[in-house]
């Protein structure tokens, strides 16, 4: 029933996927939007890793960046504002073999979805979570977001944001069972690609904060970082994000940082916004993953289930 077919197993080894296999509809982001760069990086990683499109799911919430699944050629779930993570975790829970990507934003993840963010980090399910942080709500035309800097003029705070920006990196690092926290920038595709690739390779919940330019509503917030790369702190380490020397040369400020060192990671993160770190802040490949628990019983046979159900009835019998 329900469309069961006997020949469900499939030989996928002989297939080769080109970039085009990961492309969906034409991306409708504004010209100059950083989201285009991220989309390209994800598609390249999918291609480089030869991820079967039918076994890959892009999950998102609501916001400009959450349109990303529509531009992918994989399965996608473009759900509700703030709710990408519970949906993504639900997908992974009983289908641990699927490759899960989450596209979310500073409003979607750090504000309306903040509760889920905290708990999803703790569940540590294997998925690559990209937070497109442009410091504003852009889809709804410029309202203050949790990462808007003090004084940023928006339509909800025309005189300038009245609170200092929330620091999502220190928050994430403070959550029990956190396993991968990185930050990158959309205007350096090499660093972006390597960071997302490392996040994808991590077995666990990898949170990548992507500082992403919005050419329409927050064109200036990252301009200073582009104009003066010394305001960016490039984290280097053999266990961290490795980029080619000629790319690294663009960043005069660099620091060796062992990503297994949590207290150092916290100090580096806490220096924001004075010093903006990019690279791998924290990595613990050993953290337990929730899907290891939630998928138990997946392969149980019909007979075993019926026997157990009858046993449950026996216990209630009179």
């Amino acid at each position: 029933m329900f469309g069961l077919k006997a020949d469900w197993s499939l030989d996928i080894k002989k297939r080769y996927f080109a970039l085009g296999d990961y492309a969906g509809g034409e991306a409708r982001w504004c010209p100059g939007c950083g989201d285009h760069t991220v989309l390209t990086a994800i598609q390249r990683i999918c291609r480089d890793k030869q991820l079967p499109p039918e076994k890959t799911v892009c999950v998102s919430g609501i916001g400009c960046s959450s349109r990303l699944p529509h531009y992918m050629g994989t399965y996608g779930f473009h759900g509700l504002h703030g709710r990408a993570l519970p949906v993504a975790c639900g997908i992974k829970s009983r289908r641990p073999e699927l490759d899960i990507w989450v596209a979310t934003g500073d409003g979607d993840c750090y504000s309306i979805g903040a509760g889920h963010w905290i708990h999803a980090v703790r569940y540590n399910m294997d998925m690559t979570v990209l937070v497109f942080d442009n410091n504003v709500y852009a889809l709804t035309k410029k309202q203050t977001s949790p990462t808007s800097g003090l004084g940023l003029k928006t339509n909800t705070h025309p005189e300038g944001a009245i609170l200092a920006a929330h620091n999502p990196l220190t928050t994430t690092l403070g959550i029990s069972n956190v396993s991968f926290v990185a930050q990158t920038i959309d205007w350096n595709p090499a660093h972006l690609y390597e960071t997302i690739k490392a996040a994808h390779e991590h077995k666990g919940f990898s949170l990548v904060s992507i500082l992403q330019r919005c050419p329409v509503y927050s064109p200036d917030v990252f301009q200073c970082l582009q104009d003066d790369p010394s305001q960016v702190l490039l984290l280097t380490d053999e266990k961290g994000i490795t980029i080619e020397k000629n790319v690294a040369r663009l960043f005069p400020n660099q620091q060796e940082h062992d990503p297994s060192n949590m207290s150092k990671a916290y100090d580096i993160a806490a220096a924001q916004p004075d010093s903006i770190p990019i690279g791998l802040l924290y990595h613990n490949p050993e953290a337990p993953r929730y899907e290891q628990l939630s998928s138990v019983g997946n392969d149980m046979g019909m007979e075993e289930k019926l026997t157990a159900f009858n046993k449950a009835l026996d216990d209630l019998a009179i």
């Binding site: 029933m1 329900f2 469309g3 069961l4 077919k5 469900w8 197993s9 499939l10 996928i12 509809g25 079967p52 499109p53 039918e54 076994k55 799911v57 999950v59 699944p69 529509h70 992918m72 050629g73 994989t74 399965y75 996608g76 779930f77 473009h78 759900g79 509700l80 709710r83 993570l85 519970p86 949906v87 993504a88 975790c89 639900g90 997908i91 992974k92 829970s93 009983r94 289908r95 699927l98 509760g115 889920h116 708990h119 998928s295 138990v296 019983g297 997946n298 149980m300 019909m302 075993e304 289930k305 019926l306 157990a308 159900f309 046993k311 449950a312 009835l313 209630l316 019998a317 009179i318």
Partner: protein, 642 residues
Amino acid sequence: MSKALETALPIESRDAPINQAKPPIEIDEHIVEIVSDSGEGAQKAGQTFGTISAKMGNGVWTVEIIPAEIKPPARSPAGASGIRIRLGSRYMTNMGDAADIVVALNEQVLYSRIATHAYKPGTVILLENKWLTDPNPKIQQQYQSAVAEFREHGLIVYEVQMEEECLKLTPRPRLGKNMFVLGLLCHIYNRDLEKAYHEVEQTFAKKGPKVIDLNHKLLQAGYDFAKANIEYHYDIPPWRAADSTDRFIVTNGNQALGLGVMASGMELLSMYPITPATSASHYLADIFHNVGGFIHQAEDEIAAVGFAIGSSYAGKTACTITSGPGLALKTECLGLAVMAEVPLVICVVQRGGPATGLPTKVEQGDLLASLYGEPGDAPKIVIAPATIEECLHFVIMARKLAETFRTPVIVLTDANLATGVQPYPRPEPKAEWLASPIDQSPWQKGVPPYNWDDETGLSPRPIVGQAGGEYVLTGLAHTYQSKVAYDSESNQRGCTMRSRKLAALWSTLKPPEIHGNSEGDLLVVGWGSTMGAIEEAVDHARAEGLPVSSLHLRFLSPLEPGLKNLFSKFKNILTVEINYSDEADMPLINPENRRYTQLAIILRAQLLVDVDCWSNVHGQPMQPGIIYNELTRRLNAMKGDA
């Protein structure tokens, strides 16, 4: 033997009790309560008594009396904890009206029961009398004045030295008194003592032979005490043959939901704790893994349903269980499941609302929220089991409906079903109830993700893993290709197709059966847990020749077919529900502004029939006697009008 008991009971001599020779009086049903402070084991004694009675072939309905607070002070009305057992010579469907015999371990807890009209003049109270000699003179005084007050109200109070008797066997009578009480009841109701011994042994099996032995002695002591001292001695003939080969199980409604979750092949239950739904998850927590399932306790109600939606989207069978406030929080996600056509089962164990309302008490107040809670048009299937047994089978049905119609299905139960316990036929699980392995074969080329059938709105669903089926589910208005569409035509078509599915389901349903004559002066319409009480009231009225019948709805969305025709054979239609309605004769209320019960609103709107309603929000299950009184009042008034 206490002086009080000597004066209260007409006992001729302790050595030659009068009832020894008297045969038991045959009755067809009784309602028994055991009431105490919490922690005194009243519920365990009552459940055991219920099980013994069920095994003897009686129809049984038990319901726990739950204190309003977790640690209420001892000897306080708010702390009343215990159990009601209704047993009889027929299948029991509800908790009935006033109790016949009550065993109380202190007098204060009785006040709250009296306040909820649980007793009537003539109700017999067997009351622990140790408080009469309590070292605290204030307690002595409280006890004496309460006993006097109860008697003034017509209760027949017998003071029994339970503590004193138990002290002969154990230095800690507080822990063992419940078995003494069980012994009392076993004699009063002429229970098979061998079965009682067996049940006690089962109850304490994990605690070892020493504990079993002590509890057997307490049971026997209570039995012997009643034999020697209590004149009440009844026989309730069986409803079905004792030890008949019919296989029965005993559960409450939440355990039945849990069994339904397992029997329907759910692989995931995603929940957040909420009263009175959570005990279903407690039950499953012990055994769900045995059938390969997993319980996800989410960070909040929204995440619980979001997680289930994700799992279902990925082809795994998933459900969530909640109560009113949780349903409110899940609203947006339910809208998404409707919009994107994600199969999902949502069990809602209703309690009093709005807001935090009456968390532990019953109401049928979530019907409209289930049907219409979401912004925009969000058609979904809503069904309501009417019995504990149906709680089990409706989850199985819900899963099939959810998948066939690619939609969320809400199963509405309530605190009355959740806490009521009764025996019912053991289901024979079938492999086809369980989930099949998901289809991972390639998706047929060119078939869009919403390949709506024009007539029924139904469409097959691509599952992640099916090559060629890659689509992006979206909560935005979309085309049949799941492409975001803001144009008028696409939105209209999507809404039409989702709505059409309900009409398609409606066309497969049978008209409901009428309980009683198919024509008459009054037709009572109900839904959910009230069925037993309504039908009992109707039977009572019909036995007196009154022209009343009833009809009980299981499908609320879509409604069951043929209602207009069935209604047309009756002069008046009345819904009986546990949700708020204005009474027609209240100040300021007139036919234009009167707010009706929730089912009445739906029936009036859908059928253009002048459906009346009668309801209360007392937080109590509907009782047959109260319904009977209202029906006879109305039927007499109609006679007067005619």
